[in-house]
Point group: C2
Chain length 197, copies 2
DNA sequence: TGGATTTCTAGAAAACAGTTCTAGAAATTG
DNA sequence: CAATTTCTAGAACTGTTTTCTAGAAATCCA
């Protein structure tokens, strides 16, 4: 990578960092072109050169973080030895992730996520090939071995991820100081009951 | 109500209808002042007279539909005789609602919901007094009678509504033609397992 | 090496959306 | 029937996003 491209990449990077920071500080409404250029010190022209639009910038930011989350979820599932262990891993990884990256997680659960659209998210999943949707691959596997009930994959996904995401959203919205540690302890057992044969 | 006020109310109504229609057709981005005035045939001045802002208009629309959904959920729960029956009712009512009002449901699950903010939704819940959050009241009741496990209310809410909402979101996004009838049959049993003592 | 080309940066200008403002019309009230 | 209120209307203003033109810096190839 040439010095110029290097500098270009750094500029893009600085914009992405600034975007998350601005979003964290002033919410979705606060993410304006001027706020971004001011926070990053990058000019208007560069922003449009690298990302084409503000939404384009946010799309990249979003997909990057979505990628990280899926990556970690897949890793957790892969390391698990049993189906039940996988459920535990999913809960733990997800809840840990939102605690470690609350701003990015809020972004992931925000409207921008809708705007990017499922199509792109699915695309990202497919791009990860081997580690496609941690869940669907896993469901296929464990259904066959009889470890979990013979339900449609989407149903298992709803039963497993539904409560996790609901808990995460609640904590992220900060309406109460939900106890994530307790959730991490109790949820796996409860979720397991719902999908076991 | 005087004829003039009548006409005013009708104007507001026409705007609300147009807003949902525009949202359904062109998504969140498409909901602009000009699109609204054009679709409703109502003037700019009237829009601002009645709602103060575009967000204000969407807020009213959103709260109206949120109210209907909560109303129906509360009704379903109230008619149930057992805790398990209540879970069945919640699943049935929710999935029926999104099928009957897909556009409004998409709006409810969209980013506007965030923009209105939890505060307002909570406010709406409280305003319903006796029929406050269908779930929390219900949880309190059935926990005491030992019908469901002694978990924190938010946890029960996550375990019950999480899978329902996840299923709803999936169907609304139209990524696959998920079978809601099947979900309505299977989910209650599975959810029940996760929260029973 | 050195001119042509690509890539990046920069900000002025244009296009567009949301809101405010002023004014007039229609109905109600005293 | 005058005064007041409520509603409708659209022009003007403000702020935001995007496009456009131009210049600077690095790379590439004759």
């Amino acid at each position: 990578m040439s010095p110029k491209q290097q500098r270009g990449a750094e500029t893009a990077e600085r914009l992405l960092d600034a975007a998350l920071q601005v979003y964290a500080e002033s919410g979705e409404q606060g993410v304006t072109v001027s706020a971004l250029t001011k926070a990053s010190g990058v000019s208007l022209g560069s922003l449009y050169h690298h990302f084409g639009s503000v939404d384009g910038l946010m799309r990249v930011l979003l997909l990057r973080w979505l990628g990280r989350l899926l990556e970690e979820l897949a890793g957790g599932v892969e390391r698990a030895r049993t189906a039940k262990g996988a459920v535990r891993a999913l809960v733990r990884v997800y809840l840990t992730f939102i605690q470690e990256h609350p701003d990015a997680s809020r972004l992931l659960h925000s409207s921008y996520a809708d705007r990017v659209g499922m199509a792109q998210a699915a695309q990202l999943r497919d791009a990860q090939e081997a580690r496609l949707s941690p869940l669907t691959a896993w469901v296929r596997l464990h259904t066959e071995s009889g470890e979990i009930a013979a339900l449609e994959a989407p149903m298992v996904e709803a039963l497993v991820m539904g409560p996790i995401v609901a808990t995460a959203r609640r904590w992220l919205s900060g309406i109460d100081d939900a106890d994530l540690d307790q959730a991490a302890r109790v949820l796996p057992e409860r979720i397991w009951r719902s999908i076991s044969p």
